[in-house]
Point group: C2
Chain length 154, copies 2
Amino acid sequence: MMRKHSLELKPIGIIHSPYKNTRAAPYQGYRSEEISHIEVFKEFEEGLKDIEDFSHIIVIYWFHKYQGYHLLVKTPWDDSMHGLFTTRSPHRPCPLGLTVVELVAREKNILKVKGLDAIDGTPLLDIKPYIPEVDERSIVKFGWLEGKLRKERC
Amino acid sequence: MMRKHSLELKPIGIIHSPYKNTRAAPYQGYRSEEISHIEVFKEFEEGLKDIEDFSHIIVIYWFHKYQGYHLLVKTPWDDSMHGLFTTRSPHRPCPLGLTVVELVAREKNILKVKGLDAIDGTPLLDIKPYIPEVDERSIVKFGWLEGKLRKERC
């Protein structure tokens, strides 16, 4: 079986962030007003053409500061054990982070963004346009997380 | 500089899909009623605990059938050349696919989903809960793509 073979990725950039370590990062950055700078390596800059016309982008990155994982996890939101794949824990078998961020400005290969909770130095893997028609769903239930995010964390 | 070093991923599952090759797959699966089956490898099954309480999940996968990329691309939506990172083209430096899908049913380590446009045999990398409060933005502009998706493709 070939299916479990390793796959190899090379970063397309690096994230410069005010969060210098894992303790400093918020649980979800979407509420934060902090600014991060996404440096897309020069050789990929052409791929950013007209990205400044988009108000939001999806950023995919590598959780480089988080090692290992458990399949059942406790989160900041309650005392129960939850299936890892029903959480946004950064400790995952494939340590891929995903955040929808506001694109505040662009200067050449640098994107100034708001709402990104990645640690300083995080490897950038991909940027995709955020398109409500594609990425949003109108009728949604979200299990144990419902009502949790508006409350204080435990 | 360490920053451009390769990163290694191991799939957590495999996607069984009605789309047997790249020509068969829709440009965006979110409109499709077709059912795909996501097989999460047995060793990760515990991480799916209570996922059936979620109506939608974010699926991240490896575009295994798409080789190479260009930084400027033409899409099915118009005749202009667009920056790759303003498109959802599967030809990307890091070939990561991302789709929000409807979770129709779960049986043990198999998730039956609707709206996934991945090719049969696609390596599964991650599953995250879809949470409107985290993943949706209320005021959005999306550049050249605005108004395009409701129209017929060129």
